[in-house]
């Protein structure tokens, strides 16, 4: 048997050396890890405008530098719930998971204004609940503030093959392209309908076997896009004013 003193001494030396070693490694790799996470999140946002990337590339074909460059050239205002632009923050600094824990009135909304060949896209971030855990997504609107140009979703722990299809199945988020969130000026959002879309402008097909996740997407879109309404109203007005001037 070993003495208590030996045991304590042994454990102390072991844990101390392990702690020093791991802290050193963590410090050494910290910058790379932070940068990787940043690029990973930016790629997720860009996948909402996958069809409109420079040189017709796909998100996975873009190099890390190209991704960072696109974001450097992008306008990234942050809005409050009244649709006013907040000073001193950039959209990429906003952590949606943290915002969601705040009371609704205090939330900040990130907005990415992406430009491609003179066309403007507004990328909105939304977040909600799936079956098991959180789901989130980025929705790109065309310059009219009404037509969806693309959407991308992700999730924390939905069932593979069922709820996880919102991310994995390209046919699901392809359906969103060209849908409209307003009808005659009334906000209706997009509905994920079980049994097949009936309204071609505002509905998409649900994933069979994943009713709760599909309903979660519907709810997330309705509430999430609703937050941006004050801002969307402004761009819709200026867009229609421009349209009148052109005529």
């Amino acid at each position: 048997m070993y003495t208590t003193r030996y045991v304590i001494g042994f454990i102390f030396i072991l844990t101390a050396s392990v702690a020093v070693g791991l802290t050193g490694l963590r410090e050494a790799t910290k910058n790379m890890a932070v940068k990787n996470e940043d690029i990973f999140n930016k790629r997720a946002i860009l996948s909402a405008v996958e069809d409109y990337l420079p040189d017709g590339k796909k998100v996975k074909d873009l190099s890390d530098q190209e991704v960072a460059q696109i974001f450097d050239n992008m306008q990234q205002p942050v809005l409050n719930m009244q649709g006013e632009v907040l000073d001193g923050v950039q959209a990429e600094d906003i952590d949606m998971a943290k915002e969601r824990k705040k009371p609704e009135a205090e939330r900040r909304l990130p907005l990415y204004i992406y430009e491609h060949n003179g066309q403007k896209f507004y990328i909105l971030s939304v977040r909600g609940n799936g079956l098991w855990d959180e789901i989130w997504g980025n929705i790109a609107l065309k310059s009219d503030g009404n037509t969806i140009a693309g959407a991308a979703f992700d999730h924390k722990g939905e069932t593979p093959g069922l709820g996880a299809e919102i991310k994995d199945n390209p046919t699901f988020h392809k359906q969103f392209e060209g849908k409209k969130i307003y009808e005659d000026g009334q906000y209706v959002s997009i509905k994920v309908r079980k049994g097949g879309a009936k309204n071609p402008e505002h509905e998409v097909d649900a994933i069979s076997g994943a009713t709760v996740t599909s309903d979660g997407v519907t709810e997330m879109l309705y509430r999430g896009i609703n937050y941006y309404q004050p801002f969307l109203k402004e761009i819709r007005q200026s867009d229609s004013a421009q349209g009148l001037l052109m005529q």
């Binding site: 048997m1 030996y6 042994f10 392990v18 791991l22 790379m32 990973f40 593979p160 093959g161």
Partner: protein, 236 residues
């Protein structure tokens, strides 16, 4: 079993019949998954695609090999009363090393494997090898035993991953630089089911994406292995 205390008065790094057995035994006669039925949790969870399975196999091999090595080096100094705690400290720090390295060199796969990297700590194969082998053997042999067991685990993971990915997703190595699209409904795939007269009926099997499929596949692998390797069959 082959691994109970070996008498030795040999050079530090030797590679003879015994050592070769340490590497090959876990691949068949003493496979951690199909014979000892350990490490099932991660084998069910990460094998829906081949690429994460390969990364997981490499990660577990790294952890078993080095935790065996370090434990064996310390085996004469580890107080018996707290040996499990000491083993856990070694395993946990190696797993943290894997996690940090993945985070900085391959972030997408780190995201995909998520909690299962951390759960290597609880993988029974790792601690099982420390208790059964490293505590009673010299460092070099323990290291080889760790590599052997990691490979035995990895081999099953990759076989299950290949079967699940082909039938569940119609691709191979998705997410890696050598992604292959084999069968699916668009022109990107090698066999395009929308055009093909012969494969028009084909659809991906959604069961294969679920962890339950891995359970069936591992069961079938155990059956196949035992039907040609009859000494594994329990005659009681």
């Amino acid at each position: 079993m082959a691994e109970t205390a070996v008498k030795e008065k040999e050079p530090l790094f030797q590679f003879g019949k015994k050592e070769r057995q340490l590497l090959t035994d876990p691949l068949n006669d003493n496979n951690p998954i199909t014979v000892q039925v350990l490490g099932i949790c991660s084998a069910l969870a990460v094998t829906s695609l081949v690429y994460p399975s390969v990364v997981m196999a490499v990660a577990v091999t790294f952890v078993t090999a080095f935790s065996n090595l370090f434990t064996s080096m310390l085996r004469n100094y580890i107080p018996k009363q707290v040996r499990m705690i000491v083993q856990l400290v070694i395993i946990a720090s190696l797993v943290t090393v894997v996690e940090l390295l993945l985070k900085s060199f391959n972030y997408p796969i780190y995201k995909q494997l998520s909690v299962y990297i951390g759960l290597i700590i609880t993988n029974c194969i790792v601690m099982g090898r420390l208790e059964a082998f490293a505590m009673a053997n010299k460092p070099w042999r323990s290291f080889l035993d760790g590599i052997g067991n990691g490979l035995g685990y990895g081999a099953i993971l990759i076989i299950v991953g290949i079967i699940r990915e082909i039938f569940g997703k119609g691709s191979l190595f998705a997410g890696s630089p050598i992604e292959m699209k084999i069968i699916g409904p668009t022109a990107d795939y090698f066999i395009n089911t929308t055009d093909s007269a012969f494969f028009g009926w084909y659809a991906n099997n959604n069961l294969m994406v679920l962890p339950a499929a891995a359970m069936f596949i591992i069961g079938i692998l155990i059956w196949i292995q035992r039907s040609y390797n009859t000494k594994l069959v329990d005659v009681s």
